[in-house]
Symmetry: C2
Subunit: 354 residues, 2 copies
């Protein structure tokens, strides 16, 4: 493997000194880029794009050709794991993800197996290996997975949901059954992330998109507990280097102390919390990633620059901050605005690392 030419991202996650604050964007390989839309059109469906390692690699690298980003993130979907568990993922046009065989009963849960990531998810590992080769040490590659709770919401509901009637009904009425499901998914996610690390992912992020819909008690019991078991089971050193783990619970600002106690290296923040306050609360325990409102990218480059300045000032001096949006970049954003954002982070952050 080639030497890393830019390791700011990994250093910041471990609170080691950096020259400027590293930056990447959730969904940086996505629909706001015309070259992504072209690749997507060539691939056919969204899942065809995910399942084709060459195309997934091409799309992963697209934002790096445009912007001086400090990390690449594997292009894939969080629902590849339940798909490999036999649920039959498909995308209905304009409707979002759906499963042919949702998990509704005890028998459905008993039937679930833990996929071998090099077999059923071999296309993801092939993409990771290919991206690492093509990156040639330019920046580190981030692997990722959905959290067990987040994956379970889709698995039980059979797709996206607004009310979470079925999954919460199961959680409230049959907690032991819900834990069995979550344990199986956690085992699958652990194997999946470890396979990504072995294939070349240099950091991993767990996306807990729906942890924030739970009460504080249920968040700890049904989401955080299972993420903590994953963190315990992950390969933490590979290729002679620490592999940092980032936990991101959308809407999880109230629970940062509990998240930090899992042993994760960094926490992702959405924009509903002040990053300076978050830093005071977690102290030296973890690094922080975030947290500009993605909607700021609809505003002018001057306004974007001021927002970046405010967030840098709120975090303050020293390492331990990876700049990012608080959620994925929206499809309607002008790529020039993303460029202004990334440039502002690098330019304005230098004094904080002097």
């Amino acid at each position: 493997m080639s030497e890393l030419k830019n390791d700011r991202f990994l250093r910041a996650l471990l609170k080691e000194p950096v020259d400027v604050t590293p930056v990447w964007m959730m969904r940086q390989a996505g629909r706001y880029l015309p070259e992504y839309r072209a690749a997507r059109a060539r691939a056919g469906s969204f899942m065809d794009l995910c399942r084709n390692p060459e195309l997934a690699c091409e799309v992963t690298l697209q934002p790096l050709e445009r912007f001086p980003l400090d990390a690449a993130i594997l292009f894939s979907d969080i629902l590849t794991v339940p798909d490999a568990m036999g649920l039959g993922l498909y995308f209905a046009e304009g409707e979002g993800p759906r499963f042919e065989r949702p998990v509704r009963s005890e028998a459905d849960i008993d039937r679930l197996g833990v996929p071998d990531p090099e077999q059923e998810l071999g296309y993801v590992m092939d993409a990771v290996r290919l991206i690492r080769r093509e990156l040639a040490g330019r920046v580190p590659l981030i692997g990722f997975s959905g959290s067990p709770w987040t994956l379970a919401t889709y698995m039980v509901e059979g797709g996206s949901s607004k009310e979470y009637a079925r999954v919460k009904g199961m959680m409230y009425d049959r907690p032991e059954l819900m834990h069995r499901l979550l344990e199986t998914v956690a085992e699958a996610v652990t194997a999946y992330l470890n396979a990504q690390i072995r294939a070349g992912a240099q950091a991993v992020q767990i996306f807990d998109t729906w942890g924030g819909i739970l009460t504080p008690r249920d968040y700890r019991e049904f989401s955080l507990r299972h993420m903590a078991r994953i963190v315990e089971g992950l390969i933490r050193e590979h290729e002679g280097r620490r592999v940092p783990v980032i936990l991101f619970t959308k809407g999880g600002g109230a629970w940062l102390e509990d998240m930090a106690a899992t042993g994760a290296d960094a926490l992702g923040l959405d924009w509903t919390i002040d990053i300076g306050e978050a830093r005071t609360r977690v102290g030296d325990q973890v690094a922080l990633q975030g947290n500009m409102d993605p909607c700021v990218l609809y505003a002018s480059p001057e306004r974007i620059r001021r927002e970046v300045a405010d967030i840098l000032a709120a975090y303050g001096h020293g390492s331990g901050h990876v700049f990012n949006l608080g959620h994925g970049i929206h499809p309607g954003v002008d790529p020039e605005h993303a460029a202004a954002f990334i440039e502002a982070v690098h330019e304005l952050s230098a004094p904080y690392h002097a």
Copy 2:
């Protein structure tokens, strides 16, 4: 006006002693009730139901015929105010609310007038008067409005939104314009709520459904500031009795201290915060309303009862708690489960008031 036979709700909002914890449910007059669906079918459209005082009164009283609720809430929609401001509200089948003339430019904002509530919103005031007469002092009647920020999201987006691109674009790029819009809406809401109070509403709630999508700084500047001005402008005593004001920001758990400082009597909580922790934070400054996850109503009556017990224990002894869901009751809930919820609150709360 008849003497109030059950004033637990008003007493709890003012932290005066009560025999048991009062309870009502957001959207208690709603689609989960077959008698509501029948009235809705008779009315024609949803807005026909809102605009007909007799039907609005009938629907308001329906849940009180079934359940021993401690308050009635006016049946209406938060978008009646922007509709009266000339935006042309309509409901596209299966699509949610839409405005014919959304507010997109400075000229659109300049054109907005502050409606006279007894004229353009006379149908709401007629409903309030009729409901008060029909209630005959059984329980108090709650009036309500959307918050300026929440109304502005619909007014600028032209309906519901997932990304809030336009309204946040305006907020970030043209803050002075956004404030002009919010000031006009706040003026209209103040007049609207005061007219409801004069017509007979005995408490009012401001629904800030979308305050939680803002950063802490923008929440204070664009949502809370304008709600605080409304609270200042409200009639606080009527018919010889205090008219309590409840502020409810969904996802606002992190900002309770700021919300309490507005002078509101009570804060509504969603389920993502522990009510005991919230009580510690706000101290004696305000009462608290909430906060069971509406999805608990999908579980068994026994499970519902345990959840009620947990929330009562978390709040602890003494007055100042109005039990409610953390958001509106879902259309798919079995009314028997709502009955079990309300019964559990009354039965299990008595020891906390002994």
